[in-house]
Structure formats: C-alpha cells, structure tokens
C-alpha cells in the first residue's frame, strides 16, 4: 500500500483500501452503495483538500448516512485526509475510525453521524450560515440514504430549503431500495414538490453522476438521486 501523503491513489485503489477495514460486515452493502458517489464528489466536484479544512471558502460535505462508512474512510484515505495506516484499526478502541464517524476524530469529516436524519438539517443550517456571512461560493453537500429519507427531520429540511431558495445546498440520495415503503411518485418527486431541482441517475456511472452533480440549478437547492443495485441483490 502506498503512503497516504503521496496522493497517487485512484478509483482502482478503493477496493484495496476498503479491504483493510474489517469488522462491520453488517454494514457492507451500505458501504459499497456510496462508493462511486463519494469518489466522483471527492475526485471531481468538491473543492476541498486536507490543507483546506479551516478555509471558510471550502465546499462542505456532510455524510449523514454514517453507517457503513468504509467507502467514506477509503475515499478520505485515498485523498490524503486520513492516513492509510489508520484503516486496519477500523472500529478498535484506539482507532479514530468508528463504525460511525466522529467529526472530532476524523480529519476531513464535517459532521459526526450514525443516527439517521441529522445531516440534512445541519446542512441547511450550514448553507444559511454561509449565506449570512456573504460566503456565496462554497457549496454544501449532504449524502443520505433512501431509507434514511423516511426520517421526519429530513422532511422538515426538504420542505424548508426549497421555499427558502437555498441554492448552495445539495443533497445526494443513494437509493439502494432499502426503504420498506416505496415513495409514491419516486424520490425525486418528493423534492420537486418542495421546490428543489432534481435529477435521477445511475449511481455507478461516473460521467452521469458528474453531470448531475454539476448541473445548474439557479435559485433552488439541488438533489441527485443516485440509483444503485438493491441492498438485497
């Protein structure tokens, strides 16, 4: 394995990095469902780097779906936020990398998460806070799961952000069909009804993800529904 600081990691390295982490097999499908979304965001979209974490102008990525964080840690390691040497300790007493991330322990993590339904409301506040300080450039991203979308707190955030015109706010819903009750009309329709810009794409197609992530959405928050294989498949 290469050293985290040489920044030579590519997408092809991610399975190897994830393989260094063991002990959270229950969350395995949840971990891999987010892999491509996370990679495209960190590799091509987010204006963040290990040296910019104190920069108010950086983009913010809030991982709300904190369970199954192996793909997240692998991407953070690949991009030099956390040392690759940390990965094998995953979940152990002395490791900063838990089965749910802690922002105070993981360099690069904007929030700690694990309990569902917290990231998007915090992202709303982050977008409001940036706007109040005249920081119009940074974009705020929150990643949630399709079942996590069930949480009422997310519905509060969705219903508020559209009419509030929070156009710096972005959500990516990784849809692996894990919600017990399918959302009538589809996930995107829920956001569109609240005034969001919405796109649904193949969550394994990097070009489609990139195009959806960077699509213009003036005056409105933007959601990308990234569909991946069902959790049970």
């Amino acid at each position: 394995m290469t050293n985290a600081t040489d920044m030579t990691h590519t997408y092809a390295d991610l399975p190897g990095l994830m393989g260094l982490m063991t002990g959270d097999e229950k969350h395995g499908p949840a971990a891999t469902s987010t892999l491509d979304v996370l990679w495209v965001l960190y590799d091509r979209v987010l204006r963040v780097s290990p040296g910019r974490m104190a920069d108010p102008e950086r983009d913010r990525f809030l991982l709300s779906k904190g369970h199954g964080p192996m793909a997240y840690y692998a991407v953070l390691a690949a991009k030099g936020f956390v040392p690759v040497e940390w990965l094998p300790g995953f979940g152990s007493y002395d490791s900063p990398l838990g089965h749910h991330p802690d922002r105070t322990l993981v360099p690069g993590a904007e929030i700690g998460s694990g309990s569902l339904g917290h990231g998007l409301p915090i992202a709303v506040g982050t977008a409001l806070g940036l706007r109040a300080q005249g920081l119009d450039e940074p974009r705020v991203w929150a990643l949630i799961g399709d079942a996590e979308l069930d949480e009422g707190s997310n519905h509060e955030a969705i219903a508020f952000a559209g009419p509030a015109g929070l156009d710096r706010l972005h959500t990516v819903v990784v849809d692996n069909s894990s919600a017990t009750y399918a959302r009538p009309g589809g996930i995107a329709a829920r956001f569109e009804a609240a005034g969001w810009s919405a796109l649904t794409v193949d969550g394994r197609d990097h070009e489609a993800l990139y195009a959806a992530f960077t699509a213009p959405h003036p005056g409105r928050p933007h959601v990308v529904v990234a569909r991946v294989e069902p959790k049970s498949a």
């Binding site: 904007e110 700690g112 915090i122 109040a132």
Partner: protein, 303 residues
C-alpha cells in the same frame, strides 16, 4: 411589570446589531418580536416554520460556519421534542448554541400539560457541558441572556418564566448569592422561587442562597454556607423536584449531610387554572414551604 420573555426579543435584537456572529433561529413561536430585526438582518433571523428538529439541526449548521445561534421556543418543543438533536447535533458535534425557552414548568396552566416542561433541566442534566441559567426577574434575564450569547461557543440554556421575584438582584452568570445567613440549615432558592422562599423562612435560623445559574452548580458556595449553617440542605427549584439533588450531594460528598429536594412533582396534575394554583398544588407556596423546610431543619419558628 414586563416578563422575562418580553425582554428576550429586544435584547437579542440589540445583540444582532452589535455582534455579526449572532443568529436567531425560530420555529414560528416568538417571530413577531423579531419582525424588525429580521428586516435589518434577514440572513441572521431564521424562522424555519413549525419544525423543531430542523430548528436545532439548523442551529448546529450555523454554528459549524462560526456563527452564534440563539434558538427559541417553548421549553417542551425546544428541549424535549428535539432532544436527540440537542444531544447529537450540538453535543456530539462539539458545537455551541444558546437555547432560550419560554413557558417554563407551568406558565400557561390553562394550556395544560402539552405546554408544560418541568423536566427540562433534568433532561439537560443527562448531557455534558451545558450551562443553565434560571433568572428570577426580567432584569436578571436580560443580564443572563447577554452572558449566554457572549459565552464563546458554550452550550447555554436560558429558562425564561412568567414567575418572577419582585426585585432583581445582581447576577454574574456563575455564582450563588448569599441573601440571608443563619445557623440551622441552608436553603437554596432557584430563580423565581426566591421571594416565596424568603417569606417561608422568615424567622427561621437558616441561610438562604440564591441561584440563577444552576449548571455548573456552585458547590463551593454551598460548602461555604454549610460551615456556619450546618449540612442540612433544602433545594427549592421551579422545575422537577430533586433536579439538583445529585449536584448538592456531590458538593457535600466529604461530609455527612442531608438534602431535601423541593420542586414540581413528577405526577401529572391534570389541572388547568392559574399559575398560583399550580404553585400551591406542588407545595411551592410560602405556607407549604415553611412547613416542609421547618420540619426538615427542625428549626420551626413560632407561628
């Protein structure tokens, strides 16, 4: 006299003018008081609608960007309904905010139990690192609100009530204040209970301490008071009885002592009516307090 809550919007509106870090987050309740401030600071006065989980989560997001959020609604909806947001979005994220509640334990008795929150301070006691101010007068509320907003990135709860003492005392946002000195016990009166406690202990040989900042608990003041007055301690709190009993026990762990916790009863009263009727029903009127304090310290004065 105006109420503590009447001071809230004017004071915080001035702080919005003075300090570009300050932001207000509301969930409809209290929005009229900030109409003018919202015109001057449209991006720092946020009303999220009737969405209390979002209210606390959004406050955490504001804090993440470096702002100082002040969050306000009734205590039931501020501390109890979004409790996990208070625990995780503020506590676990290591972020600060000022939570300012209204309605207290039973400020609107005719409204019934849905709008009562006698357990708010006890609930916050399950979390680490919260400062809790319980002012006993609108002037004290104003001072403590300013302390709370100025307290860096601390987590601060300010509990506003329509119950009030007749006169304000100087408060510093930290220490208990000695109001009366005696030799046969210590009575700690929290916030708006002071006038009643003073009336109840008239002629009793007890020390009365006045507490408007109850967390952190001023254990040093309690220990000092017990040196002259002995280690019989009565806590009179305007919320759930015994909320500060553990803190008082910790303060006196080195010496044999007794603690009696008086406050709002745990059992749901299921009565409407007036504040004074609820005060009496919970045994917090002067006559009941005199009986309970007097028999505990064994120093009942002639009637």
């Amino acid at each position: 006299m105006d109420t503590m809550r009447d001071r809230f919007a004017p004071v915080v509106s001035r702080l919005l003018d003075e300090d570009p870090r300050v932001a207000v987050v509301l969930a409809e309740i209290g929005r009229d008081g900030f109409a003018e401030a919202a015109r001057h600071h449209p991006d720092r006065v946020v009303n999220v609608g009737i969405r209390e989980q979002l209210m606390v989560g959004a406050a955490a997001g504001l804090a993440l960007t470096g702002l100082r959020p002040v969050v306000h609604t009734f205590a039931s909806f501020l501390v109890e309904r979004p409790f996990e947001q208070v625990k995780l979005d503020l506590g676990h994220q290591d972020l600060g905010a000022v939570l300012v509640s209204a309605a207290a334990s039973f400020d609107w008795p005719a409204g019934g139990y849905t709008h009562m929150a006698p357990g708010d301070v006890a609930l916050l006691d399950t979390l680490d690192g919260w400062t809790v101010h319980v002012p006993g007068h609108p002037d004290e509320a104003e001072t403590l609100l300013r302390h709370a907003v100025a307290a860096g990135d601390d987590k601060v709860y300010v509990r506003l009530s329509v119950q009030s003492n007749g006169q304000a005392l100087p408060v510093d946002g930290e220490r208990f204040r000695t109001v009366r000195e005696g030799r046969s016990g210590v009575v700690v009166a929290v916030g708006p209970t002071l006038d009643t406690v003073l009336a109840a202990t008239e002629g009793l040989d007890v020390t009365v301490l006045y507490a408007t900042t109850v967390r952190p608990f001023d254990g040093a003041a309690l220990r000092r008071a017990t040196r002259a007055a002995g280690t019989d301690v009565v806590l009179v709190e305007p919320y759930l009885a015994g909320t500060s009993a553990a803190a008082a026990n910790d303060a006196l762990s080195e010496v044999p002592h007794r603690v009696l916790g008086l406050g709002v009863g745990r059992r749901e009263l299921r009565r409407y009516g007036q504040v004074a009727e609820h005060v009496a029903a919970h045994g917090l009127d002067a006559r009941s307090l005199r009986e309970r304090i007097g028999s505990f310290v064994g120093a009942a004065a002639p009637a």
